[in-house]
Amino acid sequence: MRYMLLIYRSEPQGPPPSAEEARRMTDAHWALMDETKKLGIFRGAEPLEPATTATTLRMQDGKTVTLDGPFAETKEQLAGYYILDCNNLDEAIGWAAKLPMPCNGAQGCVEIRPIRPLPVREEAPAAGQYAATVNG
């Protein structure tokens, strides 16, 4: 079963991390991706630009309104994700615990969500078209 690991972190307010610190984080992510790829369970991972770059669409009085910012102004914001194919939740928890940044004290957290398989279409007009993008 595929799980999405949603990485939330408080966006940096003070000085940016040192070069070594940034390097250490990147290396840790590469290591995790390599390890999961080798096991054949890696299905994707990408970082996101900060929430200050986010745009949110909302329906108001039947009209679409475009707004600046993320959907909720919370201290922690979605910063990236992994999709991993695990046998069960404990395996997913094990990988989440290996993520370099977010379990580091108050800096952030990882939300683990099982991915629901796309429902089977009675008559699939373009078979596999949608599933392919998700399955990678």
């Binding site: 079963m1 046998n87 939740l89 404990d90 099982p114 398989p117």
Partner: protein, 348 residues
């Protein structure tokens, strides 16, 4: 035939925890396991009066329920071949043979332990953990759990549904945690076992104020857990605490059903075997010098249990133990009991 009905009820009460644990392993689903078990008990009510009572009633129920599981999985498989969760359950169900003999339960002594770790998984909230454990392992009905929690029945029912759905959808594993995770999972499991014990000890339902089966179940679970992790002194402490409290079961309430204080109880009717085992266990645990709240409470219970009367109790020792307990678990009740012990030790 009244005999068969009585037997069905007693098997249900005493063995449903073990049976459901096995059925969950076989089916990979709490709901299917419950459904199959209920059907099997219904079959027993029909068959046993006609054809006689089987030699091992628990194994009979398990085998019949397992056949019903396989039938229902087959039906589901033909209906929705491609659905992921169903194929997951199917593969689990088909991985074991349908022929079950009387040794089934003996082959998988860890089923209930798997079940308790799944029920006490930290991905479930504590209320759900407790409700699920009481429902499946304790065999309590939803209204009984509701009364134990002082919560509305619908709330508990929803809690159970949500918890079972999460176990299924997020695939919370049905296994004993690996060594590196065992410690963090133990704390929750111990809290739940002790809660089951207390539900039995100060029962909120049933004919008798003390529901022996729940206390026995909690002690049995505590025993299995302490055998699995003998180096965990708090698990030993918990088992000792339950045994020492249980030793007073006959004297805790009088004929009118009122609670009796320690001073009022007839100490000659305390269960010596349980006192001896509990005392031996807590002494062995304390010698390993990794003290925790369960061991301290057990030690206090042991001092009481080994005193011939209230006056002969070593209140200095009890006051000192409460002092240590207050340091690790500073609650108003502990503070109060400590004050009482200090007063008693000074001959008030």
């Amino acid at each position: 035939m009244a005999d068969a009905r009585t037997l069905v009820e007693s098997v249900l009460r005493e063995q449903s925890g073990r049976i459901i644990a096995t059925l969950i392993r076989l089916s990979g689903s709490f709901d299917r396991a419950e459904e199959a078990m209920q059907e099997a008990f219904t079959s027993a009510l029909i068959h046993w009066p006609e054809k006689g009572i089987p030699q091992n009633p628990g194994a009979w129920i398990t085998a019949v329920a397992h056949r019903k599981l396989i039938d229902s999985v087959r039906r589901e498989t033909t209906r929705v071949e491609k659905q992921d969760s169903i194929s997951y359950e199917t593969s689990i169900a088909q991985s074991s043979t349908p022929d079950i003999d009387d040794d089934l339960a003996m082959q998988y002594p860890d089923d209930r332990l798997r079940l308790i770790f799944t029920c006490c998984h930290p991905a479930l909230n504590l209320e759900a953990q407790v409700a699920l454990t009481l429902r499946t392992l304790g065999g309590l009905a939803t209204p009984e759990i509701a009364r134990a929690f002082l919560a509305p029945e619908t709330t508990v029912a929803q809690r159970l549904v949500r918890a079972k759905k999460k176990i299924q959808t997020a695939r919370i594993p049905y296994e004993i945690p690996p060594p590196e995770r065992l410690a963090e999972r133990l704390t929750a499991a111990m809290a739940v076992i002790y809660l089951i014990f207390n539900e039995g000890y100060s029962a909120t339902s049933g004919a008798s104020l003390i529901r022996r089966d729940l206390c026995r179940e909690a002690i049995r679970l505590g025993r299995i857990l302490s055998q699995l992790v003998p180096e965990e002194t708090e698990v030993t402490g918990l088992l000792a605490l339950m045994l020492l409290q249980d030793s007073r079961r006959e004297t805790r309430v009088n004929a009118a059903g009122d609670l009796m204080t320690l001073e009022e109880q007839d100490r000659s009717r305390w269960d010596r075997a349980e006192i001896e085992e509990g005392t031996r266990l807590v002494e062995a645990a304390l010698r390993r010098r990794r003290v925790g709240p369960y061991q301290l409470q057990a030690a206090i219970a042991a001092v009481h249990a080994n005193a011939s009367s209230s006056d002969a109790t070593d209140w200095n020792e009890i006051a000192a133990l409460y002092g240590e307990l207050a340091a690790v678990s500073p609650t108003p009740v502990v503070a109060f009991n400590r004050a009482v012990a200090i007063a008693m030790s000074q001959g008030w």
